[in-house]
Point group: C2
Chain length 289, copies 2
């Protein structure tokens, strides 16, 4: 039986799945992200067991999505040096022998997965964010994935940094105290010398985390006017949504007189529904004929 | 001869024009924004001299653009109290007798004008900003004006406030030191006790202005990935674009390896081309059949 392959290419692991167009996964594997050649070889080995007619790749980045570019399909400016300027689409095509390869960012893939089968069903303008080791964002505007010049890199916006309460300088190699530099899982680990999973609910880490995330959410709402914001990622397992949402309302200051924000924010800022499968399901959706 | 009416409804003045669908203006008038009833009465008097088949209104806001809403066509949360919760579309329809009224934000109107006849021709994902008495933003994503939940209010994002260099607390009634509170023409006037038009080019006001605008532009680029950013408004007449653009590049820190940003930013962050007529031409475009 012909299947669609999905690859969620992450900086920590590659999730591969052979699935169908209605969002069912027949088989799935997780491959730790190692050197590019060895990793792609294991990807190809997995898909060789299935009759795959097309593969969708939802990749960490930044990536080059411009079809006319000589480096289309490449991972470009990643801090993971072995993967910088790596031709991911070309390598997957060569190793698997599958010619039809769709390609987008990991977060645009996850956004598409949530829109087909998860927490953003029926919406045509929404955002998907992931707050894990890093922070990324994607989504749709007017019924199509966000591309424009290239693709969003929402994790790297600047938000006010409260130096008095938070002297940590931020840990983004490119920007220091951008959102990812202040509020990613890696930022929590470096600031407190312990991972977020080991910090209890009353630790001051979480109040700071909520502040930075709420500032970012308010900025995204004011910039894009999304119909919903869906948020996934490991850090969100520990964030108290019951404190995050009112803080977003406070920061907006009643300026947007919209029921979705004033009364129904519990249905407006919501957790991802597909969990760990959002990315790979989105990758499958990217390759839909 | 049948004409299309355009109204750029601003907090300071209403610009009305009778024009054609190819962007030519037959007659134009500016009406200082007074009390709602008197202002609308003068608008109707102007249009009564023309055979108008439809009117587009590009309005200051926030406004209610949701067609199914009982307050569709209203100005909602403006600090101009006489206009708060005012049924602008209803009042114009009643006063002019013209039934076909299109309605959007002033900045979405201006964005549409720039896309048809100005600095954003041929683009389907771009932003239009105006930096004047206030700061507003609109634009298109994937070929349609930005709406989503309601409409963008980009002037109200938070950017890092440099309290050491800039103890001014900001002047936005809703948010204090949001972008508009720090970088609008009104913020310049309040911070320095003089309007920007009277501050010479070496005044420290301009370095601060460039910093806040560059932080905001970087955030918009990272969030939306626009193909271009077009900026109008009175404050931009005084800002040194030759310093603004490199500062945007510095803040992005080489993270986006894109020629448009690294080499061709002079064609990426550009002045509005339609000047004072962008809004009213956009209003006419909104009403295009």
């Amino acid at each position: 039986m012909k299947r669609i392959g999905g690859i969620e290419a992450g900086g920590t692991k590659f999730v591969c799945a052979a699935g169908t167009l209605d969002g069912r996964i027949a088989e799935r594997i997780e491959i730790p992200t190692g050197a590019p050649a060895a990793t792609i070889s294991r990807v190809a080995e997995f898909f060789s067991k299935h009759e795959i007619e097309a593969i969708g790749i939802a990749s960490f980045g930044p990536v080059d999505l411009r079809p006319a570019s000589p480096t289309y399909g490449f991972i470009t400016m990643t801090p993971k040096l072995a993967w910088r300027n790596f031709d991911l689409v070309g390598a997957v095509r060569e190793a698997t022998g599958v010619s039809r390869i769709a390609f987008d960012t990991d977060v645009n893939g996850a956004a598409l997965g949530e829109q087909r089968w998860g927490a953003a069903q029926g919406l045509d303008t929404f955002l998907y964010l992931t707050v894990g080791t890093g922070i990324g964002g994607g989504g749709m505007a007017n019924g199509q994935l966000l591309h424009g010049l290239a693709h969003p890199e929402m994790g790297h916006i600047r938000v006010p940094h409260d130096w008095t309460r938070d002297p940590f300088p931020g840990c983004c190699p490119s920007h220091g105290d951008c959102l990812e530099g202040l509020a990613s899982g890696e930022a929590i680990r470096r600031r407190w010398q312990r991972g977020g999973e080991s910090l209890d609910a009353e630790h001051p880490a979480w109040e700071l985390e909520i502040e930075y995330l709420a500032l970012a959410l308010a900025n995204f709402i004011l910039t894009m006017s999304p119909e919903r914001i869906v948020i996934g990622g490991s850090v969100m397992q520990r964030v108290d949504w019951g404190r995050l949402r009112p803080r977003v309302q406070e920061i907006l200051g009643g300026y947007l007189q919209l029921p979705a924000i004033l009364q129904e924010i519990g249905r407006y800022v919501v957790p991802a529904a597909l969990g760990g499968d959002a990315g790979v399901l989105g990758a499958i959706a990217l390759a839909a004929p």
